[in-house]
């Protein structure tokens, strides 16, 4: 599992209790994590737990699919909700997984996740010539654009 650079939003970022945290995973593990509002302290293996949950949910959904389930070729989930949070999920064909944890009353955030991938991650990370693909990253432009975009979501 890759070790991750990232962390809590410090001073200067407006407290936003509707968007809790974001994870970006590639096929090997977590390459980015940021939290904005997480009163419940995370477990020690938080990233691994999240990766495992999402991976298992994905194969569970593929099997449960009432149309194609038996052949194991089913669809993927894009969100789940509990009474305290909503987890929004996007997986790209290249194996990048974006997970955004928000308030349970948030509406469909599929377009927002698409925007984060296409207009923030691809623009400021992939197109950065200093970035080594597959490695964890810490890119100021990515973080500031992400923070700005996230405040518009609530």
């Amino acid at each position: 599992m890759l070790s991750v650079v990232g962390g809590a939003a410090g001073n200067g970022v407006k407290g936003n209790s509707r968007i809790n945290m974001i994870y970006v995973f590639n096929r090997d593990g977590c390459i980015f994590y940021r939290e904005w509002y997480r009163p419940n302290p995370p477990n020690t293996d938080d990233h691994k737990l999240m990766f495992g949950l999402v991976f298992s949910l994905r194969s569970f959904t593929a099997k449960m699919d009432p149309i194609n389930g038996a052949s194991g070729d089913g669809c993927s989930f894009h969100a789940f909700r509990t009474n305290t949070y909503k987890l929004n999920y996007l997986e790209t064909p290249s194996g990048i997984k974006i997970i955004l944890v928000t308030d349970p009353k948030m509406s469909d955030l599929r377009d927002a996740l698409r925007h984060i991938y296409t207009n923030i991650y691809v623009e400021y990370v992939i197109k950065n010539p200093l970035y080594v693909p597959g490695e964890p990253f810490r890119c100021e432009l990515f973080i500031s654009n992400l923070d700005t975009y996230v405040t518009t979501l609530s």
């Binding site: 419940n40 389930g69 669809c75």
Partner: protein, 152 residues
């Protein structure tokens, strides 16, 4: 309502240890075999519990609803740890009412059956008899919440 257009694809009931005690398919195109349904039920039990641990807010509950491409999954957990979950068509909003109705049938025809052992697989004829009627209730009534769990 046209035949075969019930909004619910299947129903799973799992006991507090995660073992499958009831599985019924209501018309999905890929019905699961016994082993598959057992495996999926215990997988769900585990995922439900892990999701609780990952909550950013303390004292969260498990997964209530899962949204996927072709179906939605709704879960109801009783205070005793029994879980009822149904796969429905996307956007079906009467799921909470339907789960309450199913729970009502469970308490009447399963729990009150003196020969039924709790946590064991459900083999109660009256439950099997009344379930399809509840599932196929007019969906507009379910969505509007007009149908209230109880004697119909």
């Amino acid at each position: 309502m046209a035949a075969g257009s019930a909004p619910v694809f299947n129903l799973f009931i799992i006991n507090k240890s995660g073992g499958l005690i009831y599985y019924k398919d209501f018309g999905s195109q890929s019905k699961l075999d016994t082993n598959e349904s057992l495996r999926l039920a215990s997988t769900w039990h585990g995922l439900h519990a892990i999701a609780m641990q990952l909550s950013p807010i303390p004292n969260g509950g498990g997964i209530d609803m899962l949204e996927a491409g072709t179906f939605d999954l709704h879960c109801f957990q009783t205070l005793t740890g029994t879980k009822f979950f149904i796969a429905t068509e996307v956007g079906f909003s009467g799921a909470a009412t339907l789960l309450a109705i199913i729970y009502d049938l469970y308490t009447d025809y399963v729990l009150k059956n003196p020969f039924y052992e709790v946590e064991m697989p459900i083999r109660c004829d009256l439950f099997d008899l009344h379930l399809p009627a509840a599932i196929r209730k007019d969906r507009s009534l379910l969505v509007a919440g007009v149908v209230v769990p109880g004697r119909t």
